[in-house]
């Protein structure tokens, strides 16, 4: 059934990619993955995985996938010995691979990337995955192709955490939701019995830190994604909020309230005493580590209005970096370290970026109710929350070079997005 539809897919593909034809991108042949299995699910998964790899690579500007096309089927032994002459006129690179069922019900997925002209292997990777998780293996194959050809890490196996919202505006039900960055494998981490905010995924993608209203006061919780079991980050009755993991995943920076003053603290992600980093009177909140872990950007109203400040990770050398009109809030450091994204308030709310030194500020979105940016692992795009005139919120993506934000599809209203790094 799926195979018969393939020619139609290809027509659509050719039309939709025609606009990129003049860009300098490496053409890579993606023939359908092979399988040694007789019958079973492996053949269907092989075809779908090939389509997903092509779809992943099509979304990049560096690679231009050709295929999958059923006329390019090859036998299982040919996975590691492809006929390069068949591809020389069509592609510079080639990705072959296989899907094989194991006796334990799982699948083995292998991928190989070749330089067609030189007839040389550029890289290979393989995984054993539960049958239901073949998409992750396919994303990894896309990553292999991207890395082998461009030299930069592929960014396909990533997740987005956010808050799924249902119910009336007055009695909102909020749940932590997780999904692959392409919208698949959607699940909920919390059941909605208490309000939850600002989920932040750990660098390895195994934990989520968030704010929970369960109990007497909002406080930071850390939950394992596998078990869903949460525990409080710090003990005590003070309100803690705005958590973010350090790049090595060992620490969490957050804000804690004391009277009418909030300061930035760090604590071991597994628990333990909190160490205070700021002491200025006023609201210090929304800390975010630089990718090397040496610095923290945060929001402070110590000057009278909320502005962005950068300090060393031990709290020393605090300096203000925003001086434009309006308020600057919810900063987040890019994974490449080159930029800091923020929410700007003043004539509505927009998303912008600025260099860590405070130069080259650019507002990327028009608002009027945008907030909470989070970086794509490539550092080239942001996901953020936009609330429309009817009060409904959703997730949007925008590139750092601007352009019209694209809606990210979620099953319900959505807020507080956080985009993970590449998963192990």
């Amino acid at each position: 059934m799926i195979l018969k539809l393939a020619p139609l897919f290809l027509i659509g593909l050719t039309l939709s990619t025609a606009g990129f034809a003049d860009e300098p991108s490496t053409v890579i042949g993606i023939p359908p993955l092979a399988t040694p299995d007789q019958g079973g699910d492996a053949a269907a998964v092989a075809w779908q995985a090939s389509q997903l790899i092509a779809s992943d690579l099509r979304a990049t500007s560096e690679l231009f996938p050709v295929g999958p096309d059923q006329k390019d089927f090859y036998s299982y032994p040919e996975v590691t010995a492809p006929t390069f002459s068949r591809w020389k006129s069509r592609a510079k690179a080639l990705l072959t691979g296989f899907v094989r069922s194991r006796t334990d019900g799982r699948l083995t997925v292998g991928c190989y990337v070749y330089d067609v002209e030189k007839g040389r292997e550029l890289g290979r990777t393989g995984f054993v995955v539960p049958a239901g998780e073949w998409r992750r293996a396919a994303h990894k194959c896309s990553g292999l192709a991207y890395q082998s050809i461009t030299g930069a890490p592929g960014m396909f196996d990533t997740r987005i955490a956010y808050v799924a919202e249902t119910g009336s505006r007055e009695k909102r039900i909020k749940r932590i939701a997780l999904m692959d960055s392409d919208g698949f494998n959607h699940s909920y981490l919390t059941a909605g019995e208490s309000i939850v905010l600002t989920p932040r995924i750990s660098p390895k993608g195994d934990r989520v830190a968030f704010v929970s209203f369960a109990g007497t006061t909002p406080h930071v919780m850390v939950a394992s994604i596998a078990s869903g079991q949460p525990r409080a980050l710090v003990q005590g009755d003070a309100m803690s909020f705005a958590p973010r993991f350090s790049p090595d995943g060992r620490q969490i920076a957050f804000a804690m309230m004391s009277g009418s003053n909030s300061d930035i603290y760090v604590a071991d992600a597994n628990g333990g005493p909190a160490r205070r980093l700021t002491t200025a009177p006023g609201i210090d909140t929304s800390p975010s580590f630089s990718p090397d872990g040496s610095q923290i950007v945060f929001e402070s109203d110590r000057s009278g209005t909320p502005q962005l400040y950068v300090m060393n990770a031990d709290g020393s050398v605090q300096r203000r970096i925003t001086f434009g009109g309006g308020y600057y809030e919810s900063p987040v450091w890019s994974p490449t370290g080159e930029l800091i994204a923020f929410t700007r308030r003043g004539g509505g709310r927009q998303i912008g970026v600025i260099k860590p030194g405070g130069s080259e500020e650019h507002v990327l979105t028009s608002g009027p109710s945008d907030e909470g940016p989070s970086w794509a692992p490539s550092g080239k795009a942001l996901v953020f929350q936009r609330t429309d005139a009817a009060g409904r919120s959703g997730l949007y993506r925008v590139g750092t070079s601007g352009g019209e934000p694209q809606k990210v599809t979620t099953p319900q209203d959505a807020s507080d997005p956080d985009w993970s790094g590449v998963l192990d």
């Binding site: 905010l197 007497t216 909002p218 309100m239 909140t285 929304s286 209005t305 809030e329 709310r349």
Partner: protein, 148 residues
């Protein structure tokens, strides 16, 4: 004397028996009513004598206006007369605030109200605070809620 006691006992029995009759169901929860009526009546009295359980703020501000101080002065008076009552001061931000900042400004507003009430002589043990951030949409405000 003994007769009177007996009559009362009989009346009580009669009362509990009659409560089982379909037409008189209303009387069944009577033993619990005094508590419910108590907190409700206290809340109504608090509202009536304080003028309001709400205090409003300007956007991005936790500064108490003269009107806010007047309302809180009345709230303090009432709380001093009811030392058995415990209240929770809930602080709110409005939707124009960003998520983290809203939690902080809601807490700051609640704390501003709490310290003012303490300044007016209300024992701190009668007061607790909570920030809702912008999770309960509406104007920037605090609400003083009788807990018990």
């Amino acid at each position: 004397m003994r007769r009177a006691v007996l009559l009362i006992v009989l009346a009580l029995f009669a009362g509990s028996a009659s409560a089982q009759l379909p037409g008189l169901r209303k009387r069944q929860p009577m033993p619990q009513i005094p508590i419910i009526v108590g907190i409700d009546a206290l809340r109504a009295d608090f509202l009536a004598r304080s003028g309001s359980d709400l205090v409003y703020f300007a956007g991005d501000s936790a500064v108490l206006s003269p009107q806010a101080r007047q309302t809180l002065g009345a709230q303090a008076q009432w709380l001093l007369q009811h030392p058995e009552v415990v209240v929770r001061i809930e602080g709110h931000a409005d939707l124009s605030d960003t998520r983290d900042h809203a939690l902080a400004i809601g807490a700051r507003r609640a704390e501003e109200v709490r310290s003012f009430l303490v300044l007016m002589g209300v024992p701190a043990a009668q007061l607790s605070t909570l920030s809702w951030g912008k999770e309960r949409p509406g104007p920037p405000r605090t609400q003083t809620i009788l807990v018990r």
